[in-house]
Subunit: 137 residues, 2 copies
DNA sequence: GAGGATTTGCAAACGATTTGCAACGGCCAA
DNA sequence: TTGGCCGTTGCAAATCGTTTGCAAATCCTC
């Protein structure tokens, strides 16, 4: 078994959640692919027609709540999901304005910077995470 | 008339688009407010019950295509719109994880950096714009 | 393997956004 | 200023992604 999946399974168990076939398969799909997927794409790749689309939605919600996956909203109507930073490393996305293709970049231009300070003002705001998407061609 | 609106009107005309009441009013709302608004919020603030919600959607699409407004997707189901950079200046958003409040920050931690270079790789990708949202409390 | 709690499949409900179409209203030419 | 053309609007219905209620199926503990 892929180590990430094992870690996640332990996490679920610790959170009192069952390790079920739909959840396992959704994770299998996410670990196998190198870019964010739409829910319907994940569902299509499950390879098990018995699994219902709403179970995929529910699994993704759970994973998102447990910080196992990250949710991306990139402009077309549908959300995309990918494994969270802890399982895939911190990265950002290049989104092509023309064809819509999405690619990962692992280098982060904000790395090591104190964002709170860099932004000045808003002292009351504690930055917990950031989301940076680059649009271009 | 507010100068930004005049500039935008000229832009529309140049693009062969009519300057109509719904379009003008949508812009009036957007220039009057200092943070991104949901479509339905914009519609509610128009002050003219004759204007239909779909006209607001269509106006916003047009404005988006002409780079007059910027579209933000921040996680709850609805898109938010604000005037584009050229009319409000470059800025980013602080999104509160707890209450959902959104605030602008005008300081940009990426300012003056060569993003293409900072990201390495992807030489074929020309960055045209970026979107940075900070989540925290 | 049995029992109880958690999940699932299914189908219907939902909210945001889009669309077809006839009526309307900007805008240019006369 | 007026007439008319073509883009734009209002309306209502369709669409899309996502969520939900509920009974049946599955998972986990003992």
């Amino acid at each position: 078994m892929i180590p990430e999946i094992d870690r996640i399974r332990t996490l679920l168990t610790a959170a009192g959640c069952a390790w079920t076939r739909p959840r396992a398969q959704v994770l299998a799909v996410l670990t196998a692919v190198a870019h964010p997927l739409r829910v319907e794409e994940i569902h299509r790749r499950l390879g098990d027609p018995r699994i219902n689309l709403s179970s995929v939605y529910r699994a993704l919600h759970l994973f998102h709540r447990l910080n196992v996956v990250r949710r991306l909203l990139l402009g077309d109507g549908a959300a995309r999901y990918e494994l969270a930073e802890a399982y895939r490393g911190h990265h950002h996305h290049l989104v092509c304005d023309a064809c819509g293709r999405i690619e990962d970049v692992s280098r982060c231009p904000l790395e090591g910077r104190d964002l709170g300070a860099a932004l000045g003002a808003a002292a009351a705001f504690a930055v917990r995470s950031h989301s940076l998407e680059l649009f271009g061609l």
